[in-house]
Amino acid sequence: MADLTIDERRRRLARLLVGFGANVQPGQTVMVGGDIDDRELVRAVADECYLAGARFVELNYFDLHLKRARIEFGGDDSIGYATTWSYEHARAAAAEKWAIISLSGGTDPSILAGLDPDRLGRDNSPVNTEWLKAVSEQLVNWTVGPSPSPVWASVVHPDMEPDAALELLWSEVERVCRLDEQDPVASWEQRMGDMVATAGRINDLHFDALYFQGPGTDLEVGLLPSSRFISGGSETADGIPHRPNVPSEEAFTTPDPTRVNGEVRATRPLDVGGTVVTGLRVRFEDGRAVAIDADQGAEVLRARTAIDDGGVRLGEVALVDGESRIGQLGTVFYETLLDENAACHIALGQGFDYCVSDDDVERINASQIHIDFMIGDDDVDVTGVTDSGDRVPVLRGGAWQI
């Protein structure tokens, strides 16, 4: 890719997100979200949306400095506040069946440094529930894709010169998004086809629970009777296929939020709204995270998960094998989209109702948060237990056993 100009590289990534990722339809309104540092890619994406026939591109820029101003100077009732029209916004997206393209990348950790972790943790917009609803009811065709920026590059490759760090990050993003292939879409369709077949085989085994065992980890995650692993693409209720994550290497489902027990150690750092949490350890009892510890950033995660009843229970469990290009790179991106596709992971908070049948839909976890963290590695074994008690190896040394 090095022979392409930066504009051409952005355009290739934008085209993948608009066409293959969100699959924008003519006449649709498209919300394009990104950090204020992502503006060049936002523009390329907007351009591709209009070329694809979009009727309106709605920009949704995030600026962590504004969050900082709120945490630092706002009154107590400013924290976690949402305007009435921000609810209208989310409802309009659901009612009008928008496409949503979100750009994701590591942000400058110094922006939120030194702020009160409790206020930071509580500053979560309640409108997120509305957005998660639009997603879980499959009313929107959406995708999340990576946006390499100088700031993110400096976080991932702190010891390199800025230009070289950005160049390396771009080439890593292109590698994991399969943009280094002649035909990235064909390459994705093949990989996602394999993953869908694997998910199908897991579903055929009707596991009652999954066990994760490795250094510092001994965790049981109970599944609901109808929990179904999904991989690759998704489809809206109206039948528009889309790929919620580019890249995506996972098979995921929504677990039983009352049957999670044991200890788990995160295998990668995670970013919680601008705060990096490292060395995370969580102990679960009867589904609840009863102890959250970390080398760094634990308070922010504790405050965030205390936001509602479901904040300390699991909404997702996902399996990732060693063929993942992200896992193979070995780079820690400090960014959930990429890091979660490097390794098996679980998420605290909102579950996915489309992963279960109507019988179980009331039992999935409900919360206004959804925070993924990575628990898989080559030395973490994953074993499935069937409802008759048989133990079936699922992942050993990062390779599928089924």
Partner: protein, 399 residues
């Protein structure tokens, strides 16, 4: 622009400008590239007790992508929730702060002027209603940017141009004073006094003459003159334009006659209209000519019935700090305060007392100011009996 000037501009906008109240929601609109001031405004608003600061960043290059690539049904379209948002902003009596600068010309260069002219969002109309019904306390404040500086000072290297523009903004916003708010208060006292005198004369019309201009603008009998100090329906006083130097009224949209030549270039969302001449008959702009950019203004002026009639008439004297700089800023906020001006489009209904007159006030989805005054242009008040009273000569008040 250094951090100190950013900080002082933000404080001026939040305190003296919009006069943000404790527990208010504050909407901030800023084009990309104006983040520094947007962030400082957010911090200042929270310090002033704002409940929440909602910053909307806009991007002229995404707008460009639409004009260039989108289908016809995308032009002028906005999702309905944008209109609903305006309605709720009015109901909840929010404060609004907009950061103003000239756009990077690359954002609009070469675009189809007709599509550009047609791309008027219905949200604009909803916003103007908030202003006319005095539901919001608001302020548009100048925000120096490198792109703007390059436009104003094309001969200077980027950083010097930016430095120069920052100094000019500091000067015209009276931030070079020890106590800017006191300096503004003195200026507003003077402008208030002039508007009261103008109102006291009960002129039938205002006449502009000189340098290619011979224009009579008829006034509505009960229309008042005012300067840019507003009070919301709930009694929050605020200063909607910083800087401002004008006294203004809303004229009779049926009684504009003659020819007017614009004394400064007019910037319409990035398109520069130069050498503008407009001929009015029976209140309507019947001929719009220009050396450049006439189509864009013609497109705007044909949007609706009121778009070719006047909604505002404003007088600016030579004591203003902007005219003294003798500089084109390519920004209406500043340039309109360098000189007397008129505006095509929506009028200012709140300035009219009599109900019958109120119905005459011009109504339109546009409001485009252009400068027609200079020291060479004489301004007279015309009495009912046809006698004339000098109002401005060589830029000095005569009343």
């Amino acid at each position: 622009m250094d951090d100190l000037l950013t900080e002082r501009l933000a404080e001026l906008a939040v305190g003296f400008g919009a006069n943000v109240q404790a527990d208010q929601i504050v909407m901030v609109t800023a084009e990309l590239g104006r983040e520094s001031l947007a962030r400082a405004v957010a911090a200042a608003a929270y310090r002033a007790g704002a409940r929440y600061v909602d910053v909307t960043y806009t991007d002229a290059f995404v707008r460009r992508a639409k004009i260039e690539n989108a289908g016809d049904d995308a032009i002028g379209y906005a999702p309905v929730w944008h209109v609903e948002r305006m309605k709720q902003m009015g109901e909840q009596r929010v404060a609004v702060i907009a950061l103003e600068a000239a756009l990077d010309p690359a954002a609009t260069e070469g675009l189809d002027p007709v599509r550009l002219g047609d791309d008027q969002s219905p949200v604009r109309q909803a916003y103007l209603r908030l202003v006319m019904e005095r539901l919001i306390n608001w302020c548009i404040i100048a925000c120096p940017t490198p792109e703007w500086a390059a436009r104003v000072h094309p001969g200077l290297p980027t950083d010097q141009a930016f430095e120069r523009l920052s100094q000019e903004i500091e000067r015209v916003c009276r931030l070079d004073e020890d106590d800017p708010v006191a300096a503004w208060q003195t200026r507003f006292d003077r402008l208030t006094e002039i508007s009261e005198r103008l109102g006291g004369h009960r002129f039938e019309a205002i006449h502009f003459s000189g340098d290619g201009t011979d224009l009579t603008v008829g006034l509505l009998p009960s229309a008042e003159w005012a300067c840019a100090t507003f009070t919301t329906a709930d009694g929050i006083s605020h200063h909607p334009n910083l800087p401002t130097e004008e006294v203004f009224t809303t004229p009779d949209p049926r009684r504009t006659e003659g020819v007017v030549r614009s004394t400064k270039p007019l910037n319409i969302e990035g398109t520069l209209v130069t050498g503008l001449t407009v001929r009015f008959e029976g209140g309507r702009a019947v001929a719009i000519g220009a050396d450049g950019g006439a189509e864009v203004l013609r497109g705007r002026a044909s949007r609706d019935d009121g778009a070719s009639r006047l909604g505002e008439l404003a007088l600016v004297d030579g004591e203003g700090r902007i005219g003294a700089l003798d500089r084109v800023f390519y920004s209406t906020l500043i340039d309109e305060n360098a000189a007397s001006h008129i505006a095509l489009g929506s009028g200012l209904g709140y300035l009219v007392k009599d109900e019958r007159d109120k119905q005459q006030v011009n109504s339109s989805s546009i409001h485009i100011d252009f400068m027609i005054g200079s020291p060479e242009i004489d301004v007279d008040g015309v009495n009912a009996d046809g006698t004339r009273v000098p109002v401005l000569r060589g830029g000095e008040w005569q009343i």
